[in-house]
């Protein structure tokens, strides 16, 4: 039981991050994918030039927005993916590996997002 103690301890935190990420993804993801994944590449809209994009991202509030946009949905993914592997594939014995992979991935992704966003001059 001792080894399960920290997991039990962090469960509410992971769930909160998952929920917050779920809300962010539900509210913001569709419009982002539509614009940057479909509308712009397909030429439905006028291209977003490098200069214009850089000007947008210059504002610290935009960077914070993008940081939240990247980080929380990653935790959302981590939580759901963990349970999908856990239940769907019935690989409970790999529980520790899955947990580290999923939440670890989200943490690394969050760090990368911070680095990428604030390394832009």
């Amino acid at each position: 039981m001792a080894e399960e103690a920290p997991k039990k301890f962090l469960e509410p935190l992971f769930w909160t991050l998952f929920s917050a990420g779920g809300v962010v993804a539900a509210l913001l993801m569709p419009v982002h994918i539509f614009l940057f994944g479909l509308a712009l590449p397909l030429g439905w809209l006028q291209d977003l030039s490098h200069g214009r994009a850089l000007a947008l991202i210059e504002h610290p509030l935009v960077r914070i927005y993008l940081f939240v946009f990247c980080s929380l949905p990653l935790f959302h993914w981590a939580h759901r993916f963990r349970y999908t592997l856990y239940d769907g594939l019935q690989i409970k014995h790999l529980n520790e590996v899955i947990t580290v992979f999923c939440y670890g991935g989200a943490i690394i992704g969050t760090a990368l997002a911070g680095y990428v966003l604030w390394s832009i001059p």
Binding site: E4, K7, K8, E11, P12, L13, W15, T16, R80, Y83, D87, Q90, K92
Partner: protein, 247 residues
């Protein structure tokens, strides 16, 4: 003979069979018959050795839950006419060990139910002379929906998480815990939190939502579990901010 309908019923005798198998019966088809009537017909007229649980015939005792064509149902409230003219397959509740024929072993549920302390807990019990604990209709409304549970276990048979992880406390037990947590007369929320906030408690639930669909009493266990997750998360952050807080 008048109109009939085919029933495929699980038979299993632990004394003789290695595994359950379906047996076919032909019973009279009547529009006003439920699946339980058909089973009673089999037991009375065709084969007295068929075993199954039942009692009230009116959806209140919660004993006649079985899988009807793969769905968890109260057989006393499931009409043959819903399936006619096709055959009706009756199997024991899914995910539970089968004792015999349609009878499942339910101790696992009983133990879990007791663990969440589904009764009113008071810090100081009033004496009988002091009178009853009063409640307004609004206070009753808060938890009434969750108090309709009849412990029929259909929600367990609907829950893939319970099937995959038998340690999971499960829908009905958590909904009943929530029923008492939300009761204005109860003071046991903290005691229950210790049991429910374990991984096998609320956190194992992935909100498949099938428990709520299966519930014959509209209890919405899935909703109860998510609401409880929110409460537990709030409590967790509170205990972080105020680690010396009441415990």
């Amino acid at each position: 003979m008048a109109e009939t309908i085919q029933l495929e019923v699980t038979r299993y005798s632990p004394e003789h069979d290695a595994a359950p198998a379906l047996q076919r019966f032909e019973v009279p088809y009547r529009k006003d018959w439920v699946v339980l009537d058909a089973l009673n017909y089999i037991k009375d007229k065709l084969d007295g050795s068929l075993s199954y649980r039942w009692s009230c015939r009116m959806g209140i005792c919660g004993s006649c839950g079985m899988m009807v064509n793969g769905e968890p149902k109260l057989t006393c409230a499931t009409f043959l006419s819903h399936y006619a003219p096709g055959a009706v397959r009756v199997e024991p509740l899914r995910y539970f060990p089968v004792v015999r024929d349609l009878v499942i072993e339910m101790t696992d549920f009983m133990v879990k139910l007791q663990k969440v302390k589904p009764w009113i807990i008071r810090k100081d019990e009033k004496s009988i002379a002091d009178g009853e604990y009063r409640q307004t209709p609004q206070q009753l409304d808060v938890y009434k929906q969750f108090s309709m549970c009849i412990n029929c276990m259909l929600c367990y048979a609907a829950c893939p998480v319970y099937g995959l992880d038998p340690l999971f406390t499960g829908p009905a037990a958590i909904a009943l815990a929530q029923r008492y947590n939300m009761d204005s007369r109860d003071e046991g929320a903290r005691e229950r939190m210790d049991i429910l906030s374990q991984h096998e408690g609320i956190w194992a639930c992935t909100f498949v939502g099938e428990c709520t669909k299966a519930c014959p009493k509209n209890v919405d266990p899935a909703g109860a579990i998510q609401q409880y997750k929110l409460t537990a998360a709030k409590e967790w952050f509170k205990s972080l901010l105020v680690p010396w807080g009441a415990k």
